[in-house]
Each structure stands twice: as structure tokens, then as C-alpha cells.
């Protein structure tokens, strides 16, 4: 059976576009980017969903941003990506049309918002066995933005595919999900999802290796010998923690981050590609993209001073290498001086 999927991402925090599938809230931007695009313990929610869809037999996955200025992406089963351009609904229709021409039998539509864990194989099976034209995922009495559609019905009717789809909604079948759920409607929800993942309360697994109980490191991480990692903690690939750094209180540091000397990350998430300057104390905060969201005060601020928060640069790695070199030179000289003193004291006659 040929299964195609179209995933949509909200492009702005306050989208006023009509929602044809449910009344759930629009996606919130987290520090300037849709939440599903940020990594959670090494991989974004979008990529985790795409992988899961492929595992359960979905042949083609297309990703469209609701923001008309953004380009949709397409992933085949081999993982190749292609890009298209254009307005959202015309592009959506175009993708559905292409899928139908290619012989698609089942179409999965999802708008990435809440995080929901459910048995996808069971949902597809239920959809097939009930002979339903459209099956929608529900959590209790709340419809979620995840539907499975019988493609044949989209071929039969007139008008745009969007209109044909809308005509199927009144007869939808309900599939009630049971499993981990997070509305992801604000940054605190995001932090809660990271905590659930680190504590094993959902099926999200860290990308990396558990080097000690509760300490996961991605590939090519650099952790200074004087840095302290308090488990559970996650440090993503290619990230570095400088001298006297601390990661405490269920903190996560995603990939390609650079935490400079003396900085403490406590009960916080550092999103991918972030530089934290020297001697800082990040507490109860999500940091990334040159911004901070303070989880308790529920405020977001932009940090324009790249010495505090910015992007890792070659300058930082050169400075760090120079400090490390000088440190090793000094410790060698101290050791040499100590050995000279020892030799001199041994040669002095005992009185």
C-alpha cells in the first residue's frame, strides 16, 4: 500500500488562518522558530516524526510551512530532500495531486503542534478495518491535527482537494489516543517535554551515548576535565563545555553549542548552535538564537551582546585552544620548577 504524508508547520505565532481540522491553538514560536524544528535531546520533533512515519511504512513525506514565504520540503523513503516554492494551499493541492498521480492509496495529514505518542500502526489498521474515509486522532474529546484519509475519495469529487477533504470531515471516525501528550503551546511545555524525555517518561530517546548513568553525550563533545555534569544531563554532538563549567538540574545542551569557561547551566535548555559567554549563570531558562526565555517570569528577551549569548565562532575555538595551550605550558613549567627544587633540596647537605 502506498502511503503519503503531508506535514504542515505553522510559520508564525499568531496565525489567523482558518483551521479545517481542529480548533487547537496555532503553533507557538520558541525563540523565533517553530517548536517542532528545535532539537529535543539531539533531534527535532519534526525529524523524529518523519523517521517514525517511514518506520511504519509511509513512502513519501512532504513538509510545508504555512508561512507562504517558506519553502516546503519533501522526504522520500530514501531520505532525499527536495524543495518547492509557492503559496501554502496551492502547494498543498499540488502535492496531493502528485501523490494521487503516483498511486497513493492512503494519505496522512498532520499539522505539527502538540506532541502526541500513539500507536501509528494501530491507527492505520483501524482506519483500514473500519473502511473509514477519514479517521481523526482524538485525545479525550479534543480533536488533534492528525488524520488518515482514503485517497480514492479525493479522486472522486469535484473542486480543490482542500474542499474535497472538508466534505469528508462530518463523517470522520474517531481514533482515541492513549499515551504521552504535551500541548507544546508555550516554552514551559517545551521544557516539560525535555524533562519527560530525560526522565524516560516518554519515548523520546537522547541521540548519543550514555557514558555514565544519566549522562548522555553526543559525538565529538568536548568536556573540560574541570567541568561538572550532574545527571541526568544531555550534551549534544560537537558541543563543548569549557573549564569550570557546570550543567546541573536536568539541563540539556543541544548540538554545536559552546559553553565558555566558568558558566553554569542550571535547570535550563541550551538550544542548538548557541554560544554562552564566560562566567554566566543560566537558570530556569531556555537559551538560543540570541534570545532567552525565562521560564518562571515567562518573558523572552533578545540578547544583542554576543559576548553573553551568540553563535559559536572560530574566534571562540581559537581562544579556547590558546587558553588550553597556555594552561598546559604553565603546568609543564610548574612541574619542571618543582622537580628542580626537589633536586636542589636533595643535594643540600643535611644539617
Amino acid at each position: 500500500m502506498y502511503i503519503g504524508a503531508i506535514l504542515t508547520l505553522a510559520g508564525s505565532a499568531y496565525s489567523t488562518s482558518s483551521r479545517f481540522m481542529s480548533n487547537s491553538r496555532s503553533n507557538l514560536l520558541l525563540l523565533g522558530k517553530p517548536i517542532p524544528l528545535w532539537d529535543v535531546l539531539g533531534k527535532s520533533l519534526l525529524n523524529r516524526l518523519i523517521e517514525r512515519l517511514h518506520v511504519f511504512g509511509v513512502d513519501r513525506v512532504s513538509v510545508i510551512f504555512e508561512d507562504a514565504r517558506s519553502s516546503p520540503r519533501e522526504s522520500s523513503a530514501s531520505g532525499a530532500l527536495t524543495r518547492r516554492g509557492g503559496l501554502f494551499w496551492s502547494e498543498w493541492d499540488s502535492i496531493v495531486s502528485q501523490y494521487l498521480r503516483d498511486g497513493m492509496e492512503t494519505l496522512i495529514l498532520a499539522r505539527l503542534g502538540p506532541y502526541a505518542e500513539f500507536d501509528l500502526a494501530d491507527l492505520l489498521r483501524a482506519h483500514q478495518q473500519t473502511g473509514s474515509d477519514l479517521t481523526q486522532l482524538y485525545r479525550s474529546d479534543t480533536p488533534l491535527d492528525f488524520v488518515v484519509v482514503r485517497a480514492a475519495r479525493l479522486r472522486e469529487r469535484e473542486g480543490s482537494y482542500r474542499n474535497r477533504l472538508s466534505s469528508l470531515l462530518p463523517q470522520r471516525r474517531v481514533y482515541a489516543m492513549e499515551g504521552c501528550f504535551n500541548p507544546l503551546s508555550n516554552p514551559n511545555d517545551f521544557r516539560r517535554l525535555v524533562l519527560d524525555a530525560m526522565l524516560g517518561r516518554c519515548s523520546i530517546r537522547p541521540v548519543g551515548r550514555e557514558v555514565e548513568a544519566g549522562i548522555w553525550l553526543g559525538k565529538n563533545t568536548t568536556i573540560d576535565a574541570s567541568a561538572i555534569l550532574e545527571p541526568p544531563v544531555y550534551v549534544g554532538s560537537n558541543s563543548s563545555l569549557g573549564p569550570a563549567c557546570k550543567a546541573l538540574g536536568l539541563s540539556s545542551i543541544e548540538k554545536n553549542c559552546d559553553i565558555d569557561a566558568g558558566t553554569t547551566v542550571e535547570q535550563s535548555c541550551v538550544l542548538e548552535g548557541t554560544y554562552l559567554g564566560m562566567g554566566l549563570h543560566l537558570q530556569n531558562t531556555i537559551a538560543g538564537n540570541g534570545r532567552l526565555f525565562h521560564l518562571e517570569r515567562e518573558i523572552e528577551i533578545e540578547i544583542q551582546d554576543s559576548r553573553l549569548i551568540g553563535k559559536p565562532s572560530i574566534h571562540h575555538s581559537v581562544t579556547r585552544a590558546a587558553r588550553s595551550f597556555m594552561s598546559s605550558v604553565l603546568s609543564t613549567r610548574v612541574a619542571q620548577a618543582a622537580s628542580v627544587d626537589t633536586r636542589v633540596s636533595e643535594k643540600r647537605p643535611q644539617r
Binding site: L280, T285, H294, Q304
Partner: protein
């Protein structure tokens, strides 16, 4: 003396603040409150200048406070660990009454220096 900062505080505004309080430093035991209630952005250069002002006031055996610190300014102070360096006041009005300071003035957003109201 109480001086209220604008929404965006860079080194420029902080240096203007330092100039404004310089007259206060001639008094015995100067008392200065930097009102941060309107601050939405503050950079490290501004924090350094405020630190220099604190040191200067303390040299004169005076008192220097950050008053009514906005959530945004408080977040930056915590991030840079400067919240443990400055003395913070929750309310400016009450503190200014207790300290009997001069009339409030406003540090402008632009570098133009305006005369202080009497």
C-alpha cells in the same frame, strides 16, 4: 538622586547616567537609585558602567541601588551574576521617600544631554 532609565540601555545611556550622578558624588555620603522599571534591554557595557558608578559611590561612603528592576533587567542581572553585586530595591517611590533624594529625571534614549530639572 533617582534616575529612571529608558527601555534600551546601552553604554551610551549608562555613561550619561554616570555624568548625571557625578554632581551627587560631591556630596558627603551620596545616595543614588537607578530606576530600571522601564528597561527592556541592557547590555554588558551598561552593566560595567553601572558597576563603576557603584564603586565610585561606595568610595564616597554612599549608597547605590537598582530600583524597581524590570523582569527583563533582572534576567540579565541574574545571567551575568551581577544581581549579587548590586543592592536591589523592589519599589523606587518608597525608597526615594526614605532616602529624601532629588527630583526624578530621565536618562534620554539618544546621546543628547538635557539639563536636569531642579
Amino acid at each position: 538622586m533617582v534616575l529612571r532609565f529608558p527601555e534600551r540601555v546601552s553604554g551610551t545611556q549608562a555613561r550619561l547616567f554616570a555624568e548625571r550622578i557625578s554632581s551627587e558624588l560631591h556630596h558627603d555620603r551620596p545616595r543614588v537609585i537607578a530606576d530600571l522599571s522601564n528597561v527592556r534591554q541592557i547590555d554588558t557595557t551598561a552593566l560595567h558602567v553601572l558597576l563603576e558608578c557603584l564603586i565610585e559611590v561606595k568610595r564616597q561612603d554612599g549608597e547605590f541601588y537598582l530600583g524597581a528592576v524590570s523582569p527583563e533587567a533582572a534576567t540579565v542581572l541574574e545571567l551575568t551574576q551581577m544581581d549579587s553585586v548590586f543592592e536591589l530595591l523592589p519599589e523606587v517611590a518608597e525608597a526615594s521617600t526614605n532616602l529624601s533624594v532629588a527630583a526624578m529625571d530621565r536618562v534620554p534614549d539618544t546621546p543628547v544631554v538635557q539639563p536636569v530639572a531642579a
